[in-house]
């Protein structure tokens, strides 16, 4: 353990590791010091000059973000002069900031708004016109930039320099003419663009996907785990349950895995939660009409499946399982089908073209399955020895009478999905359990059972490190006909 240092913060004795700043200590102690340019995942810039505190014996107020705790230091965030300084710092920030909150996407989660209520509440003294700057700039596929709203905290510049190391952003010109932007004619092209939206304390960077879709104060947040790859980043899904819609995915701080960040791919997993991409009801293929027949009743489908299972010998049934389900779901699935029903043909369903060992150096891994390790452990648990790899062709070649398949949930993780489904068409009976559905690509399967999406279940997955990641909170499913795996198995139990 590193050496500890004690000091006084607002009258309380506080002990922190040596080398910590007052800002870090205050964060740990939940003492709120207003700040814009400081971010726990970035280097200290010390430019917003907002986080001023009083230090006994010091000639002037100090910025807490660059003030290393010294033993016995006496720091106050509560003195009048500190509060006055915060007020003025905020007024300086707002001086040239356009007050377009009613049409700004950041409204409701804006540092300027929040701090105005907390430490501001002054009468504006600015009576002259504001400095005007370019607005609504296209700086990247996921980003829209309003340089006028920017308060020049430089967090985005440091993110580009320190995290993605792409250095795409800079502050150009000087003084109050300073403008945030990309280098001449260039765009931000990396896969971490939306982190810039996250760290932007104001509405300068807004998300192209999310902007103007929903006011943030209407959104509910639930903690989950990103299903986009084997890293398993901690995320918060933002949705509006009463609308049965999801609006965005944001990272949740987890120093052991993703720190403060999340890749743009991870945020796109959202697309698989909303009704347009979902299988909302159970369906069966009507060969005569060459069309799907959907039904709000799932019980008949489960009964049909039970009848098939009862009719066939276990060796004529195969399981085809993708690596995107929770440990709990696998346990239940294999316990029922392998242990109780005696099915021994179990195949993995993976993307054949995957480059499993790829890594972008930051978060995104080539194994685009959230729970490869969990699946392998679950297989081992029921005595099935297997190496990681796609076995769909092997499954088709074995010509089982019935295949019960857990489909991959996230389409970008499975670019070969349409071809794989076409291969499955050659089999007599496939019961495909899936969250995802695409009317244009999917044909001929015997039955489709609708499953809950990742934001609609709790459970655990095991990431590439072997760390157990917890999907902590669940939204209600987008439709009442959408089932949990446990519900289907309970239904089968009842029938058999």
């Amino acid at each position: 353990m590193s050496k500890q240092v004690s000091f006084t913060l607002d009258g309380q004795e506080v002990t922190v590791p040596q080398g910590w700043t007052v800002m870090q200590a205050a964060r740990q102690e939940k003492v709120a010091i207003p700040h814009f340019c400081w971010h726990p995942g970035l280097k200290v810039a010390g430019v917003c000059r907002f986080c001023l505190v009083h230090v006994e014996g010091a000639r002037k107020l100090e910025i807490s973000c660059n003030l290393v705790v010294q033993p016995g230091m006496v720091v106050s965030t509560l003195r009048d002069e500190v509060k006055q300084a915060h007020k003025w710092a905020l007024e300086f920030h707002l001086l040239n900031h356009p007050l377009d909150c009613p049409i700004c996407d950041q409204a409701g989660e804006c540092g300027l708004q929040d701090y105005y209520m907390e430490v501001g509440l002054y009468q504006s003294q600015m009576t002259r016109p504001k400095v005007l700057k370019p607005k609504a700039l296209d700086v990247g596929s996921e980003l829209v930039l309003d340089t006028e709203r920017c308060i020049l905290c430089s967090k985005c510049v440091r993110f580009e320099d320190e995290v993605t190391k792409t250095g795409a952003l800079g502050i150009f010109a000087r003084g109050d003419r300073s403008i945030i932007g990309t280098y001449h004619g260039q765009k931000i092209t990396h896969q971490y663009q939306e982190n810039l939206v996250d760290i932007c304390p104001v509405g300068a960077f807004t998300s192209r996907r999310f902007r103007f879709k929903q006011r943030v104060w209407f959104l509910k947040e639930k903690s989950s785990i990103c299903p986009g790859c084997s890293t398993g980043c901690a995320i918060k899904v933002h949705g509006k349950p009463e609308m049965r819609r999801y609006f965005r995915v944001k990272p949740e701080e987890d120093q052991s895995v993703n720190g403060h960040w999340l890749c743009d791919k991870g945020r796109m997993t959202l697309e698989h939660l909303n009704p347009e991409a979902r299988l909302m009801q159970a369906a069966r293929w009507q060969a005569a009409q060459q069309a799907w027949e959907f039904s709000p009743q799932t019980a008949p489908f489960i009964r049909e499946l039970a009848q098939e299972i009862a009719r066939l010998a276990p060796q004529d049934i195969a399981l085809l399982v993708s690596a995107q389900y929770t440990n709990e779901e696998y346990a239940e699935f294999f316990d029922y089908f392998v242990k109780q029903r005696g099915i021994t043909q179990v195949y993995q369903w993976r993307e054949p073209s995957e480059a499993r060992d790829d890594f972008d150096g930051l978060l995104l891994r080539g194994d685009h399955n959230a729970n490869t390790r969990g699946l392998m452990a679950a297989l081992k648990q029921v005595g099935i020895k297997a190496k990681i790899g796609d076995q769909l062709e092997k499954c088709v070649a074995a010509k089982p009478q019935l295949v019960i398949a857990l489909s991959p949930e996230i389409s970008f993780t499975a670019p070969s999905l349409p071809e794989q489904l076409a291969q499955l068409n050659s089999l007599a009976r496939v019961s495909l359990w899936t969250t995802h559905f695409s009317a244009s690509q999917w044909t001929q399967l015997w039955q489709l059972l609708p499953l809950r999406g990742f934001a609609e279940k709790i459970g655990t997955v095991t990431n590439y490190q072997g760390k157990t990641r917890v999907l902590k909170e669940a939204f209600p499913p987008v439709a009442s006909e959408v089932l949990a795996i446990s519900q289907i198995i309970a239904g089968l139990h009842k029938e058999l």
């Binding site: 660059n66 300086f92 040239n96 109050d176």
Partner: protein, 419 residues
Amino acid sequence: MEKPKIVTRFAGLADSRSLDTYLRHDGYQALHKALAMKPAELIELVKASGLRGRGGAGFPTGLKWSFVPKDAPEKYLLCNNDEGEPGTFKDRYILELSPHMLVEGMIISAYAIGAQKAYIYTRCEFYEEIAWMEQAIHEAYRHGYLGANILGSKFSFDLDHYGGAGAYICGEETGLISSLEGKKGQPKLKPPFPALSGYLNKPTVVNNTETLAVIPWIVQHGPEKYRAIGTEKSPGTKLFCISGPVKRPGVYELPLGYPLQKFIEDDAGGLRDGKTLKAVIPGGASAPVLTADEVAKVTLDYESMANAKTMLGSGAVIVIPEGQSMVELLKVTVDFFHHESCGQCTPCREGTGWLSNVMHGIYQRKAKLKDVEKMIAIANNMEGRTICALSDACAMPTRAIATKFGDEIRSYIQRGNHG
């Protein structure tokens, strides 16, 4: 009062910039002496002389040197020859008189702190001075004062120069370092201080041209002799550049503690064209203004100026005659800092613009009387809140003018409001 010549001792000599002239007047003797000493002894010597930085802040030079870690393998010495403070034209005069003074001063200083490499950061508008300086550096290399094993010692040292593009902020020591590193000229957050992590994150000392140029004299004549000049806390001489409607504007070397009024009246010959004195900016645009009454009471040294709530600064004495509009003066001052603010720190970026904005309102007589108080409040909240001193440099003169000449500004506004 005796006026010893240290930095200006080459004034009036024919061919004063040449190495021959320099050598004839004991040039590079101090270097011989210094190389025979231990670096730590040299630092003690400069400490004992009481020399303070001549760029503006007046920080004790020997003390600054002593902060540099002894054992660091790579260290830098930088000469701040950016001379951007409005009203200042003294450092270029040193290069005009004898650039070898600076070169020798830098070699000795580099030896003292253990730097192997130094740069002279010069504002690029000094075309002739740069040519003279280059000439001196070449001569010094040719004669073994620069390069490997200087004068047969174990000390090797290289000197080069770099032209700044004319930003005021690049005269701030860490702004200068950023610029020299090829970055945008913006001051760096301190700590860490340059003495520990400066140019290329290596220990670095940044000294003003005048400070470095006086080092050879101090080494050669000893700290006691230097201390005998000036006041106890402000020893030595300093260059003062006086501008405005005086009879003999120009650069003067004066012992510190010299009366300001005497300087204006005797040395500079007083105001011309029968003008009377209204005010004086004693140390460059960032120094708070002194009224004519205050001018009579102060002497040209760090303490007297601090007592009068202003500063000696770079030694740029700007004389303001009766009849000069203080509204105009403040507008020009504030506009300058607004233009030169690097924009990193919010209070400076926004504050300088705000002051400029209010000031333009006043200038156009589209203002309220209480705008004068607003300017003082803005200035108060810009001061001491930023990474570097540019914000203070704007706030201090603003507050001084708005306070001392508040009535003039208010009556200016009122004349407008009454048509």
